[in-house]
Amino acid sequence: MRFSVILRTAARLLVPLILLFSVFLLLRGHNETGGGFIGGLVAGISFALYAIAYGTAASRESLRARPQRLMAVGLGIAVLSGLLPLFGGGTLLEGIWVKWGGLKVGTPVLFDVGVYLLVIGLTLVIVYELEEHNPGLFPQSVAPE
């Protein structure tokens, strides 16, 4: 597969922007439309775009963790956010809120972060797996022509 210079150049600009946008979506989900699921999907897209432009090997490297591991950590954080209230004598999944200056932060945010990581992991497991079974779908090497 030929590398597209346009795609590569655009990807270098777009990937950080998309990642930033995904974090915005994640945090916006606190009070408005958005949240961990959609944020995770968008973040997953940025890594998928990177994989299309530079190959899955480069994309995996930039992720720095196996997507499966990301899923496990995300699930773990979500469970933890559900279990935390139990230690204070509350019930499962009850929200605990902390006032932090003018900002209210609570366990639902933690839950959303867990979902965010889980969805990134899930998306990338699928994207990378597709590539492994159909070599040539994405470019194989990071070296430019």
């Binding site: 950590v73 699930l75 469970v79 139990l86 999944l93």
Partner: protein, 522 residues
């Protein structure tokens, strides 16, 4: 330990185990250990719940501290706890059995995380007291079972999975439509509140229609006639551990849902709904057992027998007397243990002789007498041979049938029992006794350590079957308590609706009856 913690442990343990298994994705041995510990933990928590219930009656808790009719409640009565315990026992048995049975490739692709997720779905379905939440747990269960049934990717598995997935999606759709209609009629999905609200709906016809939606949906999941065909088409394809787990538990979750819904919610027109159930039960028994008669594959014979046995359980529900429901619950307990065990035996036979076909198994008794003995116990129990557990289960149902004067269903049940005997004898003759073939000389296969490990859960479950047979008393008592609670659903309703008053921050609320506007049927 607080009641709340005890009630959520059967969900929390497998969830944490699933996360841990994912983290250790590359260490199959660690995952196996985690899985056994997780199933053992669920069993311990379920037994803890049993002792709590015996002391203090039905236990209720809310999730996220939302007051009762608005939030999701978890309710554990005797039926729930019996189901939890039995499914945890099967969980432990299969967890041990899977250690040698499930290959490393399947483990690397997530067998253990999904095994635990499946357990979450099953336990959640038993625990929840909310109709929509029940739907969610069914989905959790189905999605994990979809993965487990195709894991390994053989052609046979994919062919079986297509039928399994498609029909179950249809079933979920009907379930969801039913839930929507119920909410439209009554404005609540809390099962205890629904139990009161549904009898206040002015249109009995509409309630019956919704009841039929639930009957079809759960009927598909429970493999009731005429919606059972997906089961024998798919259950013989995955590894023995998976099919044993499915055979023991998945259809029984559907049966549990039928028991719950048709004792708690839809009892307005028993003459219609439960008569239909009775016909379904009779036809299920007959078609299942006839289907088994023509099969020549170990697991296919057993799959058809799941169908026919489901008929007995539904017969208990359909007769709708305390004794009949008791019989149904006893039958579920007996059946789960026996049927899972038979599938485990078939897996060992496959491992020893390389096939599930009865002809190629021929002569197992000569070289593996212990396996033959361990087969005989659940097989004869399934057929209802006295004094094994199946005999007591069938006896209770027969007495209940005669008491209500439903002689034809009793006749069917007895005849089907005979045919079951025929099928089990067929497996015995074809697979275990020496046949006329001349391939016996090279039949001695060595027993590796793995196979020996697989004998442990089989022997354990067989011992449990004998325990239930000889000391049927404790199980009978539990089934009796469950039946009482199911038949007099007011106890369940009161436990849930009174819970809101004891909740810390629930303000004063009007009584259930004095709440105008809740029921807005026109």
């Amino acid at each position: 330990m607080s009641a709340h913690l005890l009630l959520i442990l059967p969900l929390i343990i497998p969830f944490v185990a699933a996360v841990a298994a994912l983290l250790f994705a590359r260490w199959p041995t660690v995952q196996k250990g985690i899985n056994i510990a997780s199933m053992g933990g669920i069993l311990a928590a379920s037994l803890g719940l049993l002792s709590r219930i015996t002391e203090q009656g039905i236990q209720v808790t809310t999730i996220g501290d939302w007051p009762v009719p608005f939030g999701i409640v978890f309710v554990v009565d005797h039926l729930s706890v019996v189901m939890l315990i039995v499914s945890a026992i099967i969980g432990v048995a299969v967890a041990v059995y899977a250690v040698p049975d499930v290959d490393d490739a399947r483990v690397r692709f997530g067998f253990y995380p999904f095994f635990n997720l499946l357990m979450i779905g099953i336990n959640g379905a038993f625990l929840t007291g909310d109709l929509f939440n029940l739907y969610v747990w069914f989905e959790v269960m189905l999605i994990s079972s979809f993965v487990l049934i195709v894991l390994g990717n053989t052609d046979e598995q994919l062919a079986g999975a297509v039928k399994y997935v498609v029909i179950n999606l249809v079933s979920s759709l009907l379930f969801l439509s039913g839930v929507g209609l119920v909410y439209g009629m009554t404005g609540t999905l809390n099962m205890a509140e629904l139990s009161l609200a549904l009898s206040e709906v002015g249109q009995p016809g509409l309630v019956t229609v919704v009841a039929m939606l639930f009957l079809i949906s759960f009927g598909i999941k429970a493999a009731l006639f005429p919606l059972f065909f997906w089961l024998p088409a798919s259950y013989h394809t995955p590894p023995a551990s998976v099919s044993a787990f499915f055979a023991g538990l998945l259809t029984k979750v559907g049966v549990y849902a039928l028991f719950r819904v048709f004792t708690l919610l839809f009892t307005q027109d028993v003459g219609y709904t439960h008569t239909l159930l009775l016909w379904g039960a009779g036809l299920t028994m007959v078609t299942g057992v006839l289907g088994a008669a023509v099969q020549n594959d170990f697991r296919r014979v057993l799959s058809f027998h799941i169908v026919s046995q489901i008929g007995y359980m539904i017969m208990g529900l359909a007769l709708y007397t305390p004794l009949a429901i008791l019989g149904g619950v006893f039958y579920i307990v007996h059946h789960i243990i026996v049927k899972a065990n038979l599938f485990l035996v078939s897996g060992v036979a496959k491992r020893l002789r390389g096939s599930f076909r009865l002809k190629s198994l021929q002569g197992l008794y000569a070289y593996h007498p212990w396996l033959a003995t361990l087969f005989i116990i659940p097989a004869f129990s399934l057929a209802g041979f006295p004094p094994l557990s199946g005999f007591w289960a069938k006896l209770i149902l027969t007495i209940a049938g005669i008491e209500t004067g439903a002689y034809w269903i009793v006749a069917v049940a007895v005849a089907v029992g005979l045919f079951t005997m025929f099928s089990m004898t067929k497996i015995w003759v074809k697979a275990f006794l020496p046949g006329g073939g001349g391939e016996m000389a090279d039949a001695v296969s060595s027993m590796g350590l793995g196979t020996r490990v697989m004998y442990v859960p089989i022997a354990g479950l067989a011992a449990l079957t004998i325990m239930i047979s000889v000391f049927a008393g404790p199980v009978y008592d539990l089934a009796e308590r469950s039946a009482d609670e199911l038949y007099n659903s007011s106890e369940y309703v009161e436990a849930v609706l009174n819970h809101e008053e004891s909740a810390a921050d629930a303000g004063p609320r009007p009584g259930v009856d004095g709440r105008p506007g809740r029921v807005h049927a026109r």
